[in-house]
Symmetry: C2
Subunit: 498 residues, 2 copies
């Protein structure tokens, strides 16, 4: 089996080289490409994707993998997992005919254009027809791909392998029960003042400050770089080249700062993946939920904590002294954690955020089950926003048309955002137990032990353990919403003097 | 044949997509990549190169091309040329065994490292052994590939298809006879003053000025961009995305300015190639000599002319007023064209430049013929510099070790630099005949008719005509050194008041 496994590894690495080249073409498109370059660039990316796909489904590669799968008890734990994950992906690909994939691509392209048009007119009606087609195809995909208990699992599985509707139902029931009550309670206390965060924060100074903050959390600039793009993202071509982007809004201190820390968290994960496992599942992030746990742990549990700003407020004052005159760490900490319901997911605080996801989860599951219809989905949306957040949606642009995901045919993706926060809280609670005086270290500007802990417990494993197993391995128990609630209670009671 | 030709085109475009992706990986490596990214990046580029190579020599593609070649009289002129050029390239590839190619790669890698080490120690002796291996392999390559008259042609052919030693001997005999006499004569006249070009020209202002100049010569920033890199270069992924780089030396006005115009000239060619011929020879530059004719025409014939600076000196003064106070267009024109022998090729003026190439041409030809030996080549080098330029080479770093080409196994490349200048002079003479009042237009800041003339006569043809045929088609005669000499005589008589 050794020779077969090596053969498998060689092809997997070739495929990774091609995929990573395509990722660079995509990164360059967002960051550097002149406008006229778009047409040939799309063609070049499509060619690489085609070659990678062919190689992944190539006869010899498939039959070799089948042999490995049949003899997997002879392989090491890591090798076995690699073979299992790869086989699963191959099976999924094989279940979708070329015609179906092409029809889906076409529907996505049409969906995206209809969505853009609908946004212009602030009218969900314009998106409806294309969206119905997308949803029908997604339902068909569930049946083609297969699932254990609920069709929606067939979709989630691409983003969060192994995720079950039954588990998510429990998590989101907790969100509904505990978080709605808690945010309602917060709303009865006097609101914090965050007006100084909306003063003018000059572009260049924000840029320099962001780079400093990235360095302070441990991002390795010898294995990455930061650029500007309209929507911040992290991308990687190998653990030794992991790039982040940010955006700068001169009237908003937070937009750049926490996008830097958030993307920085993603990037720390990627920089910490084992380079010797390049191209194999064991060298790749295990799931989007775990990926998001890394970005949110740094963004929220660390980056919006009092200790972090005890260490870093002096740096902020070095750049923005006038704006932050008379602002102490506690006042700053309160301001950056202001809780208030908003219409837009990406502008939400970290508590109301989960209602945005809850709503999308309920709607997606309902669409796939058939209990919701595309027809009046904007009304469903608006009712849920009224019920969970207490806000009135003034138009579809600020409502159901706000996210790109559905227009791109991404159904089953949203839950990973909440999973990320919940994993983050559970991991961080454990890290605080494992690392003596962690918060004191952070207050002294030193997060190196935390990073080392994440490297050891999360990053270096790649996909060797499933998300669920990893959580159990690290924390000794399954994912449990109580860690998030207890983090939230402690933090926001302090902020709102409850 | 129509179906066969379409099949050929489809594969050629796929190959181009892969090659262009690899080119982006290379560009990014020079411009953006963090240092630790190097190892995986090299592997990714190698994987793409391997896939492209396999596709180019794939059985069905080869047999289809053979069919086309056998029936080429049924194809259009353009299609026939495409098939011929592709077949020729394929034949060359087939003549070199995988072992030979791998041995060459290894020799190049070792050559490059030996060269770096030799440069450190300023000692050609350190490079000798690796260089001998490279030269031996190149000699073997000539025999494997085959040639009509002279083995050196087998090497030149990769860079300047169809170039003949007999023709180059005539050109370089003219260089020797006419240009040595002319530069010796210039040396008897009082030298021009260019001291104001060595004042401090601040980085940011140079950057902004360079962008303006690029715009003024017609470079399309919607289909390209400029970045900084240690060695300026032009790269392209399609005619709609052609990028240039430049370098900035604050103590040298010229370094950035003419590198911008030079690379801009290359880029105008690439931006002018027909996008509908993407991936085919008819959509690619015909030869390095013709490519260099475009960069040098803009750099020297236009960019170091009096009319160009009548138009653009005011812009330069806008940025560098203090440095250029009291400098008129004529004084400026003289200063930027100062003729003096130098040791370093890339620092040379446009006349002595050709002695640098002449020497390399004589040495390369001699090495391949066997009339020169690697053993004492630095002595040969130094003697020739004494004889043709009248300069004493103080050490090998400023002598035979100055260029990277040989260390990279590029033998047969250097002559294309001189060919570029000679083609440029001949083309520009014809352009001046064809475009009424061209120099007046340029003096008024308008080079659009010149660009349109180049688009029409050079760019749009891609490789549809060979370099020799293109020259004849445009100018009515073969490449002739007299155009360069007459351009040089007229220009430098004015500069040196001869």
């Amino acid at each position: 089996m050794k020779e077969n496994y090596e053969k498998y590894v060689t092809t997997m690495r070739k495929i990774a080289d091609i995929d990573n080249a395509a990722v660079l073409l995509g990164w360059d498109k967002e960051v550097n490409m002149p406008p006229k370059g778009a047409a040939f660039r799309s063609q070049q990316i499509a060619t690489l994707a085609g070659i990678s796909h062919e190689m992944f489904l190539e006869k010899d590669f498939v039959s070799n993998l089948k042999k490995l799968e049949a003899n997997k008890q002879k392989l090491s734990l890591k090798a076995r997992r690699n073979v299992e994950i790869t086989s699963k992906k191959q099976n999924r690909s094989n279940k979708l005919s070329t015609e179906f994939v092409m029809e889906s691509s076409k529907a996505i392209s049409e969906g995206y254009h209809a969505w853009l048009k609908a946004r212009e007119q602030k009218d969900y009606g314009v998106f409806k027809k294309a969206f119905r087609k997308l949803v029908d195809l997604k339902k068909e995909e569930c049946e083609l791909v297969g699932y254990d208990n609920h069709p929606y699992e067939a979709l989630m599985d691409q983003f969060e392998p192994g995720a079950k509707v039954a588990d998510l139902d429990i998590l989101f029931a907790d969100v509904k029960k505990q978080l709605i009550r808690f945010t309602k309670k917060i709303a009865t206390y006097p609101q914090v003042d965050n007006s100084f965060l909306k003063k003018k924060y000059p572009h260049q100074k924000q840029w320099d400050f962001g780079l400093e903050i990235l360095k302070r959390i441990g991002y390795d600039f010898d294995a990455g770089r930061q650029d500007i793009s309209p929507h911040p993202f992290t991308t990687n071509f190998a653990p030794s080249d992991v790039r982040v982007t940010t955006r700068i809004d001169e009237r908003n201190f937070g937009s750049m700062t926490w996008s830097c820390i958030h993307e920085g968290g993603h990037a720390l994960y990627e920089q910490g993946l084992p380079p010797q496992e390049y191209g194999l599942p064991s060298g790749l992030a295990v799931s989007l939920g775990i990926h998001e746990s890394q970005s949110r742990l740094w963004e929220n549990n660390v980056g919006r904590s009092l200790p972090f700003w005890e260490a870093n407020l002096p740096l902020a004052k070095k750049y923005f002294g006038a704006n932050l005159k008379g602002v102490g760490a506690v006042k700053f900490f309160k301001a950056i954690n202001k809780v208030h319901p908003s219409l837009i997911r990406v502008e939400s605080d970290e508590l109301y955020y989960h209602f945005h996801i809850l709503i999308r989860y309920e709607i997606e599951k309902g669409l796939i089950e058939g209990t919701y219809s595309v027809d009046n989905l904007n009304e469903v949306w608006n009712e849920k926003y009224k019920e969970y957040l207490g806000v009135k949606v003034p138009n579809d642009l600020k409502g159901i048309l706000q996210d790109i995901h559905w227009a791109y045919g991404s159904i089953g993706y949203f839950p990973t955002y909440s999973l990320g926060s919940f994993y983050a809280a559970q991991f961080y609670a454990k890290a605080k137990k494992d690392i003596r005086g962690l918060e004191k270290q952070i207050a002294a500007g030193d997060s190196s032990q935390l990073l080392a802990w994440l490297r050891e417990n999360v990053h270096r494993h790649g996909s060797t353990y499933s998300a669920a197993k990893l959580c159990k391995k690290i924390t000794g128990e399954e994912l449990n919403f109580k860690y998030f609630m207890s983090y939230a209670r402690k933090k926001y009671k302090a902020i709102y003097d409850m």
